[in-house]
Amino acid sequence: MRGAWAVWKRESRYYFSSPTAYVLIAVFLIIADLAFLYMFNYYTVQSGQFGRFAGNPPFDFTPNWIMEVLFDFLGTVILIVLPFITMRLLAEERRQGTDELLLTSPTSILDIILGKYFAAITLVAVMLGLTVYMPILLDRYSEIAWRPVLMGYMGLFLMGAAFVAMGLFISSLTESQIVAGLVTFGLLLGLWLVSGMGDIIGRVMDIFAPGVSSAAESGLKYISLNDHLSQFLKGVLDTRDLLFYISASFFGIFLAHRSIESTRWR
């Protein structure tokens, strides 16, 4: 584990001693802030309308609604930002020949990969952490339920961690950062859109093979990365969702490990 710690330190130092982390965090925060402002504004206007016309809002329209919508949106932003974090992790080592140093040192491949994985999810945690002022601000001027907010952060973090593990695997396959970044983005986007695909395929299959359609639909929805987020955002901890994200992380790390191991045998 000492090796993993060494790698974690080196990667974190890299992130925060180069512009990479700052640029990514800045982009993330600017988008998040704009979205927050927009939602906040929308909420105040709408709730004013409901108050004036004495109608009950059609759903649970509390300040928590702002956070729920925002978190959902931040999931998309993480998807876009994340390939920039993971693309260099292993590709860069191979390109600059430092993989020879890593693989001939007494540090195990697993330690190296874990060090990198934890460094990248640390950066994700920092990004998310910097948005904490939003719920605090809402709570200061109104009242919010904290449980769904904390669960939302947890869900986003676990989802980010799963993204990192997949990005890490893709990065182990090539020595080109650009290729790694683009493929990671494509993969994550694919797994993101697959839930929408599930709907469409379900409808089409309803016509031709009514029996299988629901199975295909729920299968596609199951592997979709964002569908598992919705329960978290509502403040519900469903072990299925928890297990899904954790096992996605494990799977990505496992594949990355296999991939590094196998390149040596080629």
């Binding site: 000492r2 090796g3 710690w5 060494a6 790698v7 330190k9 080196r10 130092r13 890299y14 001693s17 180069s18 600059q96 020949g97 430092t98 993989d99 020879e100 140093l101 890593l102 693989l103 001939t104 040192s105 007494p106 540090t107 195990s108 040596r264 045998w265 080629r266």
Partner: protein, 318 residues
């Protein structure tokens, strides 16, 4: 200390290393010599545990490189052909990181880093970014990172490649100084370099060993023939025959205006030839002894192995 037992490495249809065996005892400095693409880097990568061989095995200090990889790796210092530097890291931080990867604890690391900074002469650049160093300093830093865990075995892949002549001399001195009690394997395609630093040499070509001996033995094998060149003012058709009849002379040939004579060592050919030419009045312009360099042996060995290979191929076709 280091032993390779019939190592082979194939990349698909290509055989990079073909049944190589050699041994380096404790304290040996073994030169691994061959033209580019001969399989030197592959062999070194196998010994360092970077990649497994397709066949055969390598042991360091009696331990199999793959079965006991962690123990072996902590005893090896390795400088790959391209020094494995992080461009964005400060020299001292980088060395500390490598030391940590190699399993040194915090108190050992500080000491180890200062030791290699001192012994590799990188004190004046120790606070600069590795990516900003000149090629010479990068190479030194590469050696420093290999030395940071005070390894028993040092493996250096082309340590002088890309350096200027002054740096090459400095690098050789440094390697000699650092070798000490350690077992060193270094690869090169320059024979002069190997003969200056190493006590043993393994020559490989196209993945096969063509010679495996001490430097002295190699030099001795060269001295099995003595070469003499001669230039005359007046040509005479009978020169060749006359010289060939001298005692100990094995062959005579002429290229341009120069005669090349090969003879048994110690048969006094220079003297005999000079006497003959003066007696016959051919007008002696020059007669001299030619030193056969290791370079020649190297080329000769490589050429012989190529010839054998071609002969083998032709047989195969028939």
């Amino acid at each position: 200390m280091i032993e390779a037992e019939s190592l082979s490495k194939r990349y698909g249809p290509l055989t990079a290393v073909d049944n190589i065996s050699f041994k380096a005892e404790k304290g040996d400095v073994l030169g691994f010599l061959g033209p580019n693409g001969a399989g030197k880097t592959t062999t070194m990568r196998i010994i360092t545990g970077f990649m497994p061989p397709s066949e055969g095995r390598a042991t360091v200090a009696g331990m199999d490189v793959f079965e006991k990889s962690r123990e072996v790796k902590s005893r090896i210092g390795y400088l790959p052909e391209r020094p494995p530097l992080y461009q964005d890291m400060v020299v001292r931080t980088y060395l500390d990181y490598v030391a940590e990867l190699k399993g040194l604890n915090r108190s050992q690391r500080g000491e180890a880093v200062e030791r290699v900074v001192e012994s590799c002469g990188i004190g004046e650049v120790a606070d600069r970014l590795a990516g900003h160093l000149s090629k010479g300093y990068q190479q030194r830093l590469g050696i420093a990172q290999a030395m940071v865990n005070d390894p028993e075995v040092l493996i250096l892949d082309e340590p002088t490649i890309g350096l200027d002549p002054k740096q090459i001399v400095e690098m050789r001195d440094m390697i000699r100084k650092l070798a000490g009690e350690r077992t060193v394997i270094l690869s090169s395609h320059i024979l002069g370099e190997v003969s200056r630093i190493c006590n043993k040499v393994v020559i490989i070509n196209r993945g096969k060993i063509v010679a495996n001996d001490t430097i002295e033995a190699l030099k001795k094998s060269l001295q099995s023939t003595e070469r003499v060149t001669m230039r005359l003012q007046k040509g005479d058709p009978s020169v060749g025959d006359a010289v060939e009849k001298l005692p100990g002379v094995k062959s005579v040939s002429k290229s341009g205006g120069t005669w090349n004579i090969e003879s048994e060592p110690g048969s006094g050919t220079v003297e005999n030839v000079a006497q003959l030419v003066i007696d016959k009045g051919w007008g002696l312009e020059e007669v001299s002894h030619v030193d056969i360099s290791l370079e020649d042996v190297f080329l000769q060995l490589v050429r012989e192995s190529e010839d054998e290979r071609e002969a083998g191929l032709q047989e195969g076709e028939e």
